[in-house]
Assembly symmetry: D2
Homo-oligomer: 339 residues x 4
Amino acid sequence: MIVILKNNPDQEQLNNLINWLKTMGMEVNISKGTTQTVVGLVGDTSKIDMDLIAALDIVEDVKRVQEPYKKANRKFHPEDTVIKVGDTQIGGGNLTIIAGPCSVESEEQVCTIAKLVKDAGATMLRGGAFKPRTSPYSFQGLGEEGLNLLREAREQTGLPIVTEIMKAEDIDLFDDIDVLQVGARNMQNFDLLKVLGSTDKPILLKRGMMATYQELLMSAEYIMSEGDPNVILCERGIRTFETQTRNTLDVSAVPVLRKLSHLPIILDPSHSGGKRDLVAPLSMASVAAGADGLEIEVHNHPEKALSDGPQAMLPDAFATLVENLHTLHEAMGKMKPIN
Amino acid sequence: MIVILKNNPDQEQLNNLINWLKTMGMEVNISKGTTQTVVGLVGDTSKIDMDLIAALDIVEDVKRVQEPYKKANRKFHPEDTVIKVGDTQIGGGNLTIIAGPCSVESEEQVCTIAKLVKDAGATMLRGGAFKPRTSPYSFQGLGEEGLNLLREAREQTGLPIVTEIMKAEDIDLFDDIDVLQVGARNMQNFDLLKVLGSTDKPILLKRGMMATYQELLMSAEYIMSEGDPNVILCERGIRTFETQTRNTLDVSAVPVLRKLSHLPIILDPSHSGGKRDLVAPLSMASVAAGADGLEIEVHNHPEKALSDGPQAMLPDAFATLVENLHTLHEAMGKMKPIN
Amino acid sequence: MIVILKNNPDQEQLNNLINWLKTMGMEVNISKGTTQTVVGLVGDTSKIDMDLIAALDIVEDVKRVQEPYKKANRKFHPEDTVIKVGDTQIGGGNLTIIAGPCSVESEEQVCTIAKLVKDAGATMLRGGAFKPRTSPYSFQGLGEEGLNLLREAREQTGLPIVTEIMKAEDIDLFDDIDVLQVGARNMQNFDLLKVLGSTDKPILLKRGMMATYQELLMSAEYIMSEGDPNVILCERGIRTFETQTRNTLDVSAVPVLRKLSHLPIILDPSHSGGKRDLVAPLSMASVAAGADGLEIEVHNHPEKALSDGPQAMLPDAFATLVENLHTLHEAMGKMKPIN
Amino acid sequence: MIVILKNNPDQEQLNNLINWLKTMGMEVNISKGTTQTVVGLVGDTSKIDMDLIAALDIVEDVKRVQEPYKKANRKFHPEDTVIKVGDTQIGGGNLTIIAGPCSVESEEQVCTIAKLVKDAGATMLRGGAFKPRTSPYSFQGLGEEGLNLLREAREQTGLPIVTEIMKAEDIDLFDDIDVLQVGARNMQNFDLLKVLGSTDKPILLKRGMMATYQELLMSAEYIMSEGDPNVILCERGIRTFETQTRNTLDVSAVPVLRKLSHLPIILDPSHSGGKRDLVAPLSMASVAAGADGLEIEVHNHPEKALSDGPQAMLPDAFATLVENLHTLHEAMGKMKPIN
């Protein structure tokens, strides 16, 4: 951490600051220049509050040098995290394909789609039972009944289930759900994160539409600091000025998060593009960038879907896409490492 | 609502669409051009799901003409909403000044500051008991004890209390709190909004850092559609590319929201600027733009504040600011209307 | 074009509007609802100024249905544009690799790098002679001498040259340059675009850091409307809230621009990421998304580069990357089409 | 400047770096921690290229502590700059009101409006002769003839003229123009800036739609480093996610730029809001935030304006607004200073 002082700082206040930093266990280095004095802190600064220092009269600015997250940080955990889910795993070279409808609508719907995506090569089933919708007048999901229909589809296909939890007090309803998803709008619902962290469930954490990588990792840190190490990071598109797409998929998230963290990384090409014909090219780009997997919406009757119909792929197109993705993934496996 | 069709749409599908729209109570007008056919819908479209229509094969795009919110909409409620809180009111020409520390830290701290801001002219007291923090390692607030200290400060000063609620299951703890605040990160925590809507409390709803005006109004609609009409809109700065300020205060929110909605509008110059010396000019700008009030952080020892110290004003500076704001508010009262 | 009227529009003004629209060659359809009247225009609206209509007292809003660009529009030019440059071509299934240093620094530097990238498989040479720099105190490029050094490198390797032109009055200096590049900051330097449009040169048009797809295509339209059809669109990263990357590469630009336009699309993974180790994954993602080619910075001594050193690849790494890209491009060629 | 090294940096490379920095006149301080080593540079770093250092293998990150601009920096020029224009001045406590049509359309139009805005209290006349338009099919301005009509209007009213220059080679046409405006899209047209800097004209420099304060000041620095100290900064709205306004006026620019720089600051409420009824509240907010003046579009027949009609005020409304602004400006003068 670097503390930049105002010109001619009051010497007594400066001494107080330095002494306080030393009692916090910091080693303190001072660079006095003609126009600017800079104080460098060496040690574990993750528990020093930048704001406290920035509030001092003698301080012009404070810059952080170390990352404020530890458990999610690759520096302290160099090995890739691999998460076992049922018979499959996320990370470790596996290409995870999570597919299914946006919302669970009926037993017939979810079981039919589950079988279709399984046959096409999906490794997990997605489907929303509790749905965050921007309008109170839109379909809000089947709730508990939706969870039961997902269980039925798992029973019939063997596919593990991924589904969204929206509030902490529902946690018991999700007891046997395989992967709990946190939606983009809840990425900073810290109370929910803490409750999830007290389980040992795999948590698929979606990046907020305008969250930075560091904010995403701090939310992962919330879960991990409560004891659950099984966090899967999910990039699902960020808000930009472009209006022709719903959101803009940020593929740079893959190599950057890979470097900063050891957690597996999944991309969601359906929500980011918001349009069916963008799903295939964005899926290809994600895998080529090195993603551990994809979450894709598939529907057999998208024109009747109760939410997000325009972005759902048809089962046939999805099957071809999975085939292409495996061709790509194999080709990737043969590529030469770049130093 | 306007539905733009693809070139040469399948006639049968088009007929199906038109018939379905008519059964939904819509009047349907078709404009056939040489290159483009456009279908115009007339009637109450707030319950028609744009996504369902956009998912159809024959549809290129759908544009909404009417706003999707009704209870928050000035068109259906032309009179300004005025909200009574204790002996004061928000809206109706009153200049509301909500002031106090970011976090409640101790009885001595909150009661001292409460008295100082009351003497300076504040009409309500703010203070955080439950604190949303981006790091799990930062101070998370005193919780229930913090609420008790706020009650004590109210007892001593008579100022009504504004404080943040972070999760729905805490609702009973806030039974006698005057105004419940929803933080920017929770603006789309729909489960929380629904529970708040089932009370009759005044709710101060903060705009998310990247939310549009329409999204803010849809979140107000969530509360209002459950029965609570007492929503106060709060602009607190949006995320932009500027790094010299924490966020960018959007003063255009005042005249635009005033036109779209009948709800009162408060601005928060402390969180938006993130720096003490920006609070005064941003407060002046907000009142000059027509805001119904301000929420301002004040601390007697900002260098010891457990959160957000750099943006807290000192009590003396705050007192001068309130004086200046009243001078401005009076001058505004004498201005000529502009047609 | 759709014109949404205010409630109870003045009938005389409405008649005037309708008559004027008819004299402009529009077919006019009116949908009268109980709360809203909507006027639909059918015909060639590209020369009707939305602003003129929006300024009318009786108008609430105007929405465009047709794209405002014509020559760049795939609807009026369904075949992909393929641009011949020397012995190579851009588009038409070819994988264009433009590589070289950010700035031309010396004959030795540019010729050495030119040979290295040619051997590695580059199809064209890039290098900046005129450099747009945010600081007046930074290296501004070698100017005319830089162009001569590029010519020398072309002489030695046979690689066609791509280099940036910054101002219209320099046009004669670029007489025998193969491809003229327009930088992101000049995307809306309309005078420059017009002068370039009066040549028959291939123009590589970089998307502004916050430009929408439509704005990029309108800038292409500026060039094309002056007579030059040889425009190459280039996505080079957009500004987002992320600070760990210089910009965020928008790979969705590939499928979306492909649909809207017939012009070839190149991606620049060097400027977008701003870091050497992001170039390979972003290049792979770009080609997997369907890009026609890449523009990549390569330097043999990046620590001595006079600009943008941190993002330049080393020649060896670049050679491996090109090999991998060809493996990917071939794999892509075998993929099944998705309906 | 702070250089953060990678873990275990190569000692020889580190020594080379340190020696090089010393030859550049820097004082070098090294803070060695257990996990991180930080090198602090003290001295004039404005000519040290961050990129060069960041490109080194041993460097993880470089952070700038000092601002990279000097002539525009308040630290080196503590007094406010006041710019004389004809009989009036910009800055120094004066409230500058620049008003007029978006485009010059005819002698009758510009002279009529000039007289109306002068009578209403405007201190300078604006009007576009060369117009940057996003579509090549839109009206591009009257060019030289437009400049002559502005001269005629100046002759008749005595108001100094503000008008936009779009390209460097036009500079001679602007010989007797009072203030030359640089449009937002040209803020980083560095060749234009350099040519303007070689004159002694007042230059009104508009902030780009997504430019940071530092980028704006660097563009001012381009002009000033060529010798012209007469730069006026102009905030005209930034691009945000909001679609109900054309752009979002950033009033924080006033206090922040005031602190960073000594140059006068003008706000443009017409382009930012993009709607006539936003001009008055945004103008009030700007003056209350401490702006030195405003640039406002006024038109007597906005429905016939050849560009930007929807945002032009009517002359009567403008006259009332100017009256209100003076009431506000006077009230501001009586306010107590806040420490």
